[in-house]
């Protein structure tokens, strides 16, 4: 069991999200960094989609009330277990009474805590993700608070062959981003596919989408990121009808400053779409703090598929190799 000792607001339990409930206006939701969550689960031998705690504000302090194997992946925060520093993307075993402290990340934006067996909360509409807007799912449908006690589900007991545990090469090192011309230091590249209204933007704007940098503004959260840069203009200003949208959609409101809808996006929207960031790169956005700079690269469906296969291969290899580093315990 884990007791939350200290947490800022807006940290929630999330998994890979809810699929199949769009008829009720329920979008996918789930973690902002799917790869980090899945990697933590792979290190522990859980299913990829087991729920974890998504921390986006720090510091976080919690106590393990009994011996527990866990992993911390995602943003590189200084993680200390019983005062001892853990490498990034690391799985190890906490002893009863050990405290885990996560400090503000040096790199990245969101860190994930996964535990062996997964968290013991009921699935709501097929998922353990917290649907904050409508207060259901996750841990009592709300963000975590100090004093919350979270249990894990029963699992086959195991020990790590190295008692210090085992880690993963962080996804940003193991899964390369798309190449991009004239990339400046510190810029993050994500691939996007042209969306329905791409052709309605003027030529200068179509070019600017990929050739100019986009700053992540302070108005960026789990619902979406508001970007600032060269305003994007359409050839004609027409109202759009409300339509269903997906995480990753790059909408352009009348201001010309794009919005990327993300994990907790509404299930529908009404702004024109210039592109949609591919699934395999969404996690890169989830790790960008306000102030970071983003670049878009247009890609084909084939390239999107190849990118997804690269992530899948990383996870499959990690899962297999991590399996050799655990052994069943009596």
């Amino acid at each position: 069991m884990i007791e939350i000792l200290e947490t800022p607001p807006l940290n929630t339990m999330q998994d890979l999200g809810r699929v199949g409930y769009r008829c009720h206006g329920i979008g996918r939701g789930g973690v902002m960094d799917r790869l980090a969550l899945a990697a933590g689960n792979a290190l522990l031998g859980n299913d990829d989609g087991e729920a974890g705690l998504e921390f986006q504000l720090f510091p976080v302090r919690l106590r393990f009330t009994r011996e527990t194997a866990f992993a911390v992946t995602g943003a590189h925060c200084e993680a200390r277990l019983a005062g001892r520093r853990l490498p990034p993307w690391w799985a190890t075993r906490a002893q009863a009474g050990d405290e885990l402290v996560l400090s503000s990340p040096r790199k990245g934006m969101r860190a994930y805590l996964t535990i062996a067996g997964g968290f013991d909360v009921p699935q709501v509409l097929g998922s353990r993700s917290t649907h904050a807007r409508d207060s259901f799912g996750g841990f009592h449908g709300r963000p975590l608070l100090a004093g919350d006690v979270l249990g894990n589900r029963a699992h086959a007991p195991f020990v790590f062959r190295d008692s210090a545990g085992v880690g993963a090469t962080p996804a940003e090192e193991a899964v390369p981003a798309a190449p991009c011309e004239d990339l400046a230091d510190g810029e993050t590249v994500v691939r996007a596919i042209r969306a329905a209204e791409f052709d309605s933007f003027d030529e200068a704007s179509q070019t600017a989408l990929c050739r100019t940098p986009w700053k992540v503004t302070a108005r960026s959260n789990r619902q979406g990121y508001a970007l600032s840069g060269t305003p994007l203009r359409r050839n004609a200003l027409l109202e759009m009808r409300s339509h269903a949208i997906v995480p990753g959609v790059i909408q352009v409101p009348p201001s010309g400053q794009p919005l990327i809808q993300l994990a907790e996006a509404n299930s529908a929207g009404g702004y024109p779409k210039i592109g949609v960031v591919i699934e395999a790169d969404l996690w890169r956005i989830g790790q960008l703090p306000p102030g970071a700079t983003l670049r878009f690269v247009l890609c084909s469906l084939q390239e999107a598929r190849a990118a997804e296969q690269a992530s899948d291969a990383y996870l499959a290899s990690l899962r297999r190799l991590a399996g050799y580093c655990r052994k069943a315990a009596a």
């Binding site: 001892r84 190295d162 545990g165 090469t169 297999r320 580093c325």
Partner: protein, 126 residues
């Protein structure tokens, strides 16, 4: 599993029989490196000039330093990791003390027994 215990035992036997000192096999993300007994340098014999003990790699792969020379560490603390494919395994300090010298470089390929830090025993008060 690509490299089973049986498979490794067979490889080792073959190496011995043919006088092969070192063997490296790489498949996908997995790497296997077998070094004959003569190739494994016992850590105690590495540098008789130094008074400190060594923190050495316990796996084959690419080194990622977690701590730097000068850092005070506890027994069991992870001072570096060694990556093979997407997996990282720990290099832990055997004793409490201060890391006095770095004996390997970041991103260097290391093998079982490669010394990484020299450590001077003793719990410091600060």
């Amino acid at each position: 599993m690509m490299f089973t215990a049986d498979k490794i035992a067979l490889l080792v036997a073959t190496m011995k029989r043919n006088g092969v000192a070192e063997l490296e096999i790489r498949e996908e993300a997995e790497e296997l490196r077998l070094v004959g007994a003569a190739g494994v340098r016992p850590t105690a014999a590495i540098s008789p000039r130094t008074a400190g003990r060594m923190v050495s790699a316990t796996a084959f792969g690419v080194l990622h330093l977690e701590r730097q020379a000068g850092a005070a560490v506890e027994a069991g603390e992870i001072v570096a990791t060694v990556a093979a494919g997407p997996l990282r395994r720990p290099v832990v300090s055997p004793i409490a003390g201060r890391l006095t010298r770095m004996l390997a470089r970041q991103a260097q390929r290391v093998e079982y027994g490669t010394p990484i830090f020299e450590i001077l025993e003793g719990k410091e008060r600060s």
